[in-house]
Subunit: 244 residues, 2 copies
DNA sequence: CGCACGGTTGACCTGTATCAAGCCGGGTGG
DNA sequence: CCACCCGGCTTGATACAGGTCAACCGTGCG
C-alpha cells in the first residue's frame, strides 16, 4: 500500500535487527508481530547538532525513536523565556507532547548529531489495535514520561542546588549505564547553561556546584568529562538532606 | 460476563447521562459505542476529605474520573519531603502514573469530599481496541498530562513567586470556568501550605504574595475566597516579566 | 468558652542570582 | 605553525528574593 518502505529499505530500518529494540519496542513479540512492527518505522532522519527535529507549533504526525545522538526538549513561555524540559538519549521516544492538540508544544533540538526513526502515529495506533503488547507499550511509555516529570517537579519544587545537580548526574549516569556505558564516567553533551536551565539554576551556580563537588572529592570534572568518584555520597545528598 | 454492573447499577453509573461526559469521555460516539463505554465504569467510590484514593506503592488497576470533589496528587522523596504534583477537579482523570510499573508512584488525596468513577484499565485497553475514538481519547489524556507538566516545569524552573501564584490562580479559575463557575471568583480548596508546596514556595511567601496582589488591587482575598479583580494584570505578570 | 489550626505579618538570614573579570582550549586564518 | 578570537567556563563580590523563625490573629469546632 501507500508509501511503506520497500523490502530493501525495510531491511535498513528494521527494528528486528536493531540493537536498541528492547529499549524502544515491546519485548516478547511473536515473529509475525515483529514483522509488522518493522513497518512502524517509515524512515530514518538525520538531525545535525543544533537543529530541530520539531518545533513548537509544528504539525504532529509521528513519534521519534532516537537511534544515535542526544536531544533536549524545551518549552518557551510567551515572553521568550525557555525551559529545558528534558534531555533524551538513544532508545528514548520523543514527540508525545504533540498528541493532544495535533501539534507540538515544545522544541526538540539535537545537542549532538543525531539520527531518529520516524514512526507515524497513525500506524502506531492502528497496529496497537491488533498487537496488545504494542498497545501496552505505548501506554507505558507515556506513563513513564508522566512519572519522570513528577520527579522533575519534586526536584524543582523542593531541592536545593547541590541536590538538584547530584540527582541530575546520577540520573544521567544511570541511563548511560543502561546503554552499556560506564557507571562512573560520563561526557556531558550539554552546556552548563542548558543544565542550569533544566535544573532551574543559573549557569554560574551549576559551575560553582561542580567545583564544590570536586573539592569535596565527590566527582572529578574536566570540562565536560565527569567522573563520579563517590556515588554514595551523591545519593545521600539527594535523599537525605535531613531537613528539619 | 464476570462482574459487570447489573442494568440497575449501570443506570446509576452510566456515562451516557452524566453531565461531565464531555470532560472525561470522547465525543462523537455512536449510540452503540456509548453503550459499551458505559460499561467502563465498574463502580463509583466515595473518598472523604483527607483520605487517599490511592497511595504510592498501591497496585495499579484502574483510572479514576472525578465526579465531584477535589484531589491533590503528591510525590514523596525517600527522605520524606513531599511535592504536590497537581490539583484535580471534576471531570479530570487520575491514576495515569500507575500504568508504567503496575503500581502507583504518588498519592492521591481528597482535599474535599469526593466521588470518583472507577474505570478498570483492562477494560479501557480492551475497549479501545474496538472503539478508535476511545483509543485516541486515552492517548490525548496522557499527552495532555505530559504537556501540563511541561508547563509546571516552566513555572517551577523559571518564574518568580508572583508569577507563579498569578499563573496558578489564572489556571484554577480558567478550569473552574470551563465547569460553569464564575470566571472571576473562586474558593480555594487547598491550604496556603499546599499551594506553596505545589508552587515550590513556602506558605508565608504564598500568604505575602496574596496580600501584595490585594494591595495592588489585582484580587480580593478573604480566607479561601478569592475574587480576581484585574485578570489582565495577572496575565501580564505571568508572561511579560520583561526579564532582560 | 476555649482550643487548635490555618493564616498573616514582621525581622532577620541565606542561597542563589547578578554583575563583572578573567581563563582555557579549540578552531580559524594569516 | 603560530596568533588570535570566541564560546564556554570559572571565580569573585555584591544584591536580593524568598526562606526561616517568631509572634499574633481569627474562625470554626468540640
Amino acid at each position: 500500500m501507500n508509501n511503506h518502505p520497500t523490502p530493501k529499505e525495510q531491511l535498513q530500518v528494521a527494528c528486528s535487527n536493531c540493537s536498541l529494540r528492547e529499549l524502544c519496542m515491546p519485548v516478547g513479540l511473536t515473529p509475525e508481530e515483529l514483522d509488522r512492527v518493522d513497518e512502524l518505522v517509515a524512515a530514518r532522519r538525520k538531525v545535525e547538532r543544533g537543529s530541530a527535529l520539531f518545533r513548537r507549533g509544528d504539525a504532529f504526525g509521528s513519534l521519534f525513536a532516537i537511534r544515535t545522538g542526544f536531544f533536549k526538549t524545551c518549552m518557551a513561555a510567551p515572553d521568550g523565556r525557555e525551559q529545558v524540559t528534558g534531555f533524551q538519549m538513544a532508545g528514548e521516544i520523543i514527540g508525545l507532547d504533540g498528541i493532544v492538540n495535533d501539534q507540538h508544544s515544545c522544541d526538540a533540538i539535537a545537542i549532538e548529531d543525531a539520527e531518529v526513526c520516524v514512526m507515524p502515529f497513525d500506524r502506531i495506533t492502528e497496529l496497537s489495535r491488533d498487537v496488545a503488547s504494542l498497545q501496552r507499550h505505548v501506554h507505558r511509555i507515556m506513563s513513564r514520561e508522566i512519572v519522570r516529570e513528577h520527579g522533575v517537579m519534586l526536584l524543582l519544587g523542593s531541592m536545593r542546588a547541590e541536590e538538584r545537580l547530584a540527582a541530575f548526574l546520577l540520573n544521567l549516569v544511570q541511563r548511560l549505564h543502561a546503554r552499556g556505558f560506564s557507571r562512573s564516567e560520563l561526557v556531558l553533551r550539554m552546556t552548563r547553561e542548558e543544565i542550569g536551565n533544566y535544573l532551574g539554576l543559573k549557569l554560574e551556580t551549576v559551575s560553582r556546584t561542580f567545583s564544590k563537588f570536586a573539592d569535596d572529592g565527590l566527582i572529578e570534572v574536566r570540562h565536560r568529562h565527569v567522573r563520579i568518584v563517590d556515588p554514595d555520597a551523591l545519593a545521600r545528598l539527594v535523599d537525605q538532606p535531613l531537613r528539619n
